[in-house]
Each structure stands twice: as C-alpha cells, then as structure tokens.
Symmetry: C2
Subunit: 308 residues, 2 copies
C-alpha cells in the first residue's frame, strides 16, 4: 500500500462504524477482532462487478450499499451476529467525489448492519468491489444449508421477485405502474436489506437456511442438495408484494418470483412445532428425496454467472 493510497483510505474510510470486538481496525497489516468466549467466527466473501451485479451508471453509494448488504446477507443466512467488514476496491482511477460517495454508501450500510469497517485494500483496475464480512455465533448455534429434515416446513421472509422487477424498471421505465410501486421495486434492487435480525431469531428455531440471492428455485436447489432432501413449493403460497401484484406483465412477474435474484430474503426450514416469525410465510415442505418440485414441475436451475 503506497502513501497516496494509504492517505485515500485514511481520508475516506478511516472511521466507518465501531464495535467493542475490534482491537485493531483499518491501518495495520491486518484487523484484529476479539470475539466473546464460546463463540465461533463466520466469514464470507462476495464480489460485485460492474455489468454483472450493478448497471454501469450506478452511483457509487448504491454500489457500496448493495455490495455490503449482499455480503451481510450471507451472515444473516447463517444466523450470525455481524462483527466487521473488509472492503477490497479495484478502481480505474482514484476520483475524490466517487470515493466520497462510495464511503457514504458504506457508512450507511455499516450503520444498518452494525458492521464496522475493519480493513481494506485499493488497487487500480476494472471496477470491482469485494466485501468480506465477519460474524460470530455461539458454538453449535449457527444455521447451515444442510440441516433440513423431512417433515419440516419450508418458509421464506418478506416478498420475492421485487428486486428483479426493480432492476427491470431501472433498465426500462416504459412500464405502466404507479410511481409509488415503481419506486418501491427499484429500491428493493438498489437498497436491499440483509435479514440480520431474522437470521439471529431463526438461529434458535430453524433447521436450515439460505439467502435468496440467485432466485427461489436455484437457492431451494442448493438447500435441497446440501440437506439431501426434496423441497416441495406451493407456487400460490409464495408471498408477492402489492407493487409486484400491480405490475402489468404478470407472466413476467411469475418468472421473477421463482427465478429473480437479489431479494436477499431468507429461505429456511422449520420443524413442525416451531412458531413462524413475523413477516415470514410458509411456502411448502421438506420431504424425502432430492431436487425441487413446484406445482408438479421439477426445477434445478437459476442464475449462473458463467452459464449465460
């Protein structure tokens, strides 16, 4: 890390969030965290690339906010408490206004997720934002994809398909939809919320969980495979927002609901007796077998960064 680069990071990213777990944050060779005794640490990394995860003309604060939320969503899916994040930024040039906006988005996401920025790296290159998130959970009390058991209920938080519809509305504004509904859907894409509080609640209730980032059918497929079970989804039970119900193209809406990514809701399995948390919906069940069945059809596909 050279001097100007060091100055850049110091200037824009020196004090984003704080936490009693952080012993050393940005500015040394590595960050130092001290987690509570009897806890495991959970770590995930997510890259956000221009043209893949966001439109090329996206403002820097939205790029930062979305990238951090997408990464934090992995902690939510594991039922972890967020402890900190590291940002690796690859940029074509170091432009002050862009960096200030990016830092502002990072600061907002840090506040919402309660994750301080504890480290980072900046390099010249094509725009790419890589977010590493660190969380904690009591030993033997975190969620995985592999705990679903036949007889469990399949549930999802919030509503699905909104973010895909919102992205579509950003690319094509010529759709007959009220400004209020359009703004809601666009915001679901540009400013998603990682379900961190729900994840920590599910920690004590659910048998398995995954976040819906690739689309319901794809992520259900990952869960089914990891748990070695079959998931049966009732299409009519899938929660759809009022805004999406008002969309003029309901054929497309059905696709978004089943295959749209980036909603960052949680898909999880509950034992028969467990209470359903607020703002969650039962959409199917876990049975013996493999794969994902939705209203009589088998599904195993979803978003693939290299497949198309």
């Amino acid at each position: 890390m050279g001097l100007s680069e060091f100055d850049l990071i110091q200037q824009y990213f020196s004090q984003i969030g704080d936490s009693p777990s952080v012993r050393v944050a940005v500015g040394d060779d590595a960050a130092v965290l001290q987690l509570p005794e009897g806890h495991v640490q959970l770590i995930s990394v997510d890259a956000a690339v221009s043209g893949v995860h966001f439109l090329p003309n996206t403002s820097a604060d939205i790029i930062a906010y979305r990238a951090i939320m997408a990464a934090a969503s992995d902690l939510a899916a594991m039922g972890a408490k967020p402890e900190g994040m590291l940002l690796a930024l690859t940029l074509p040039n170091a432009e002050g206004e862009w960096l200030a906006s990016f830092a502002e988005g990072a600061r907002r996401a840090s506040l919402v997720t309660t994750m301080p920025l504890i480290g980072g790296d900046t390099t010249r290159g094509s725009l790419c934002v890589t977010v590493t998130v660190v969380g904690s959970a009591p030993v033997d009390r975190y969620l995985t994809r592999s705990g679903a058991r036949p007889g469990d209920r399949l549930c999802v938080s919030g509503t699905l398909g909104d973010a895909a519809a919102g992205l579509s509305l950003l690319e094509n504004t010529d759709v007959s939809l009220s400004a209020k509904h359009a703004a809601f859907l666009q915001q679901r894409f540009t400013q998603p919320t990682a379900r961190l509080a729900l994840g920590q609640t599910l920690n004590a209730l659910a048998t398995s969980a995954i976040d819906v980032s690739d689309g319901l059918l794809a992520d259900a497929g990952h869960l089914a495979r990891a748990s070695d079970v079959r998931l049966v989804i009732h299409r009519d039970a899938i929660p759809v927002s009022t805004a999406l119900q008002a969309h003029p193209d309901q054929t497309q809406v059905q696709e978004w609901v089943l295959r749209g990514g980036d909603d960052y809701e949680l898909l999880f399995t509950l034992p028969p007796e467990a209470p359903l948390p607020n703002d969650c919906t039962e959409i199917g069940l876990v049975s013996e077998g493999e794969g994902v069945r939705c209203d009589g059809a088998e599904h195993m596909t979803g978003y693939d960064h290299f497949g198309h």
Copy 2:
C-alpha cells in the same frame, strides 16, 4: 451462486487444505471457524490485478500462488498463525484448464502456509483475485506497526530488492547474468514466501513489524508514522543477495533494494536486549522524531497504485 458456478467451485476448490479449526468450509453461505479460547482473530484482504500485480501472460498457478502469499504475508507481519483463506475470483470466462492450474497454485500455497481454503466467490469480469486471510494469536500477543520505541534496533529478514529485479528480468531477458542468478531472482518475484514462522517467533521478541510489500523506504515510512518515531537506516547494512550483487546494473540495484516491492520480507523493531532471529539483519535504529532517514537523506515515498 448459480449451479454451474457452484459445480466449478466444487470441482476445483472443494478440498484445498484442512484444519481442526474449520467447522464449515466451502459450500455454505459462510465459513465457520472455531479458534482456541483466549485467542484473537486477525483478518486481512488483498487484491491482485492483472497488469498491476502480475504480468498479463502469467500462468494461473503463479497468479494464485503469489496472491495467496502476498495476503499471508500480512498475517506474518502481525505474528499470527494462519487459520484459513477465502478466494474471490473475477474471471472473463470459466475455462477448465486455467481453473485447474489456478487451483494447483492455490493448493501449493495452502500447503506452504498451512491455510485451508474455507470459502470463495466466482464472478464474470476482468481478471482479479481477492484473497482474504484469517489467522489467530493469543490475546495481547500480536505485532502491530505502532509499537516501535526510540532505542529499538531496526531489522529486516532475508534480502531486499530481489523481487523487483526478478520482475525486471521477466520483462527484459537481455541482461548479462548467470542463468542460476536470474532464476533465483525471478523465483523471488513469482514464488515469494510469506515469513509466517518468523512472524510467530517475532511475536515474543519484536515491538513492531510490517511486511516489505511496497519497498523498504515506503514500508519503513508506514512503520515510522504508525509508531510516531523516526527510523534511521544504514544503507550499507541492508542485506543484498549474491544474485543481486552479481547484477550488471548496480545503480538500478540500489533503487530496487530501497524501493522495490514484493519481497515480502519482514521489517521489524527489536528492543536492545532481544536476540536477532536467524536469517535477519540489523539495518538501523529507532529514534525520537518522524520520517525515515537513510544515509543522510530523508525519504517518504514508495509504490503507489494510483500515483503513477
């Protein structure tokens, strides 16, 4: 993470290294580590970009090996024991031969550093490798840049300038140097070694440490600033390899020794009474003041990803 992408990672990166600390590795939403009680965790992230950190025609196994070693070097500089790594790969396309070679380089680096691969992400985009490393250290027993005190001795491991000379030889082979010396210098660039064992030894001896990744003067500047001290370097004391001593352009060699990056040696400060570890050299001292002085001249500059 889509299905083909999932398959790719499973195929090439599913079993790289192992450690008793790893509870959940590649394949879930986050990795889970359980560190020994009474330990802190250390985390660092480093991006390696084509054309900045490696030549565009570099083979994939070298790209992986160097990127992982560069990241591991940050753990060495903190005196941490390596616990695991996460790889975020952005690739223009998913080509099996390239991925197999990359995985082989990652496997070699994992063996040498004893860091299992515990997570990752792959995305389509310009080639960029982001490595997150996680280590552990006993509470209150890790090295920082900020502990140097006036009266300490300034020391460095190994020899300096080799990697910069090696990179130059890769770009221009028309230099009068024996094949053996040329191979040594090139290997110092393509296959650096993170000084992990030395870092853990220094943990009990040194007052501060940093790895030499930006060049001696630049990294000494970071150490001086963080510790709020002045570093005085005796140029003649800086260790230079036999191969570099045989290089025909000794004016250039002096530049490489002072400003060449990528050697990944450790620069550290020892109290007066502490023993000097093997393969280390005393090159100066810590005094009151600020900045870096080398043979009468003040220096504060080094490699800067955006400055040139």
